[in-house]
Symmetry: C2
Subunit: 393 residues, 2 copies
């Protein structure tokens, strides 16, 4: 096991009706003037925003608001948010929405006290030294942003999707009410589930040896997702299944299942170019990319893929030909994604094979290599896109 | 799933040589004058205490010290610690030791700013409103106190063992270096492992339905313990196995595997009377009590015990007679405990069957009932002690 630091100070308030505690929690963490940041009209239409406002009113917290966050959140709205916070004297950002909304909130949070362009921090490794505190009311189980210090944002000019990470961006509190996710359409639900599983797989495929505890914790989250996802696709109102997925989504990404081991993250990087170019859902892109990445890299550690196949997908170990077990596991993953309504190739995603050179160019690896499990070249990335383009069951 | 709050703000610094960061961490969390609280001579003899002091010196942190914490930490030393902190103006407590040392530190931490007897908080539900911040350098993987808000202390007069819990008692940081646990004798190592497993089982046996994510997380920790414990018994210096157990011990008790579900905790309560009366190791007492408790209660939810047997112990499900699978799982647990050198009955523990009325009396249930999974009466508790007294393989 590698040396590590683990720090997850977010206070999670989980369960039915918990959004009514928003005001109390903002107060507890010192907010006096809040920016409520939200996305589409669904938070408005469902009455959620009104309930959150009522809770703030009850606690005597002033607020202003900024809606309109889109999936793959854009820099343009973030600049607007930063200006608004400065002019209104906002000292706390309350995100009401899913991962995109939280990521946009984090960008605003680090941009407000920074004397320069917030984009300076994205994809550059520049260290965040100050940020407004944020809290979240989560409406989609997916990104894990409610418990992480990460933020991914898209620069409209050039469709660049880049990320930043800092403990200062971890939400002070996150309110998780599974009821809020019951109205999500099946497609978005499945996209979220795919993202959750991908967050675990990025950690599961490691070159660090003898990390049984985090292996088993990874498998715990994945087994839960395999059980609960088909249930919510069939019964969108199933509170218990929604609740299990929601907590799994947080555990998958606050790094408790990934500490002390090298992690990969190439599938996320390779996918980001798809969602940046085609504006498809991140989870849908991952459904196309991740099994393709697995097929390309599995020979690097056949026994690890066999472990996935046996422990997660319930395959029988083929002790004579472990490769076959490894490939069977990957096939199970792709079948599962198909069964919950995810695309599994470019055509189903709305991507084009002829764009691969553009995708690879945007990926920006040049002559370099990247990845924690297998170091990929630009040519490898192109091959993975090609496998993904043509995948079938 | 039940509504819950989850809050685990402790910063964990994990790995080789990490005790050299003690000074830096105390400084980060605002300590200026530290009480170093430790137990037996082993922290002194091993040179650990010197390394910690050197680290404090390097960061310019003043300190005083108080050693002598015993297993099942006593109120008498705690009163001494409180006086010392007050007279020396201590503002941060650094625990260098195992669970007993941390629990003693927490008692001092809440006692210093309290205008009364620290014992007022133990076993009474009285709410802690203020406490000195604490940090830990952990030397035994067992109690999970390094990541929890709980403290268990023994009042010498009357051998009363009682507990308290508060978020204010959660350590600001915990330094976990698995190397420090490599010198532990096999018996103490096994006691620690048993305690870790018991922390999970107390949460695993629940009446809350459909809590797959926490079920699976519980199983992840248990499967890890079953794999790694025999390895460290056979090879005390196996760093990787020690590391897996150490992180498992923290995950087992910061409640990430237990949120959103009713928990039991009767085995801990029933055991506490054994370690209070005989001064035996808590883990050894649990090895005797917990399988006995399981045998007494399993009919309350046969399928849950069958799940334990199949998922954790790898038993084949007997679909015709699930009871047999349930009992097989319990037998596997007891055999495992025996195989790692734990006592499995009163004689092996050094307890006496004729003391059972005294134990039940001290348990103090009277005509009441207790427990989150099965509500036990005093008579039930006596029966469990009797099963434990006479258990065999």
């Amino acid at each position: 096991m590698d040396n590590f630091q683990f720090y997850s100070p977010t206070e999670f308030i989980f369960g039915r009706d918990t959004e009514t505690k928003a005001g109390e929690m903002v107060k507890k963490y010192g907010g006096t003037k809040v920016l409520i940041h939200y996305g589409s009209g669904s938070a408005v239409k469902s009455g959620l925003l009104d309930r959150v406002k009522a809770s703030l009113d009850e606690s005597g917290i002033a607020y202003t608001e900024l809606g309109g966050v889109q999936p793959n959140p854009r820099d343009t709205l973030i600049y607007k948010g930063i200006e608004l916070c400065r002019s209104e004297g906002v000292d706390f950002i309350l995100s009401v929405g899913g991962g995109s909304c939280i990521d946009s909130s984090k960008a605003i949070a680090l941009g407000v006290p920074y004397n320069g362009d917030f984009w300076d921090f994205y994809g550059t490794g520049k260290v965040v030294e100050k940020a407004l505190p944020i809290g979240t009311v989560l409406t989609i189980a997916a990104a894990g942003s409610e418990g992480s210090g990460a933020s991914v944002v898209t620069k409209e000019e050039g469709s660049l999707k880049r990320d930043v990470g800092s403990d200062l961006l971890r939400p002070r509190f996150s309110i998780l009410n599974p009821e809020l996710t019951c109205s999500l359409p099946a497609y978005q639900t499945a996209c979220g589930a795919t993202d959750i599983m991908a967050h675990v797989f990025e950690r599961y495929f490691t070159n660090t040896r003898e990390v049984e505890i985090t292996d088993r914790l990874c498998e715990a989250v994945l087994l839960t997702m395999i059980k609960e996802t088909p249930r919510v696709i069939a019964q969108p109102d199933n509170y218990e299944a929604r609740a299990n997925i929601m907590w799994a989504g947080t555990v998958a990404h606050n790094d408790i299942v990934g500490v002390g081991r090298s992690q990969d993250w190439n599938s996320h990087g390779i996918e980001h170019e798809l969602s940046a170019l085609y504006d498809c859902a991140h989870g849908a892109g991952l459904a196309v990319i991740m099994p393709a990445w697995m097929e390309f890299v599995y020979k690097h550690d056949v026994m690890r893929f066999a472990q996935m196949a046996v422990r997660i997908w319930g395959c029988q170990m083929n002790f004579e030909f472990p490769d076959e077990t490894a490939l069977e596991g990957i096939a199970c993953f792709r079948s599962f994604l198909h069964s919950i309504g995810m695309p599994i190739n470019f055509e189903q995603l709305g991507a084009k094979e002829e764009d691969i050179p553009v995708l690879v160019e945007k990926f920006g690896l040049g002559d370099g290599k990247t990845g924690g499990f297998v170091h990929l070249t630009s040519q490898d990335v192109a091959t993975i896109y090609r496998i993904a383009a043509n995948a079938g069951l």
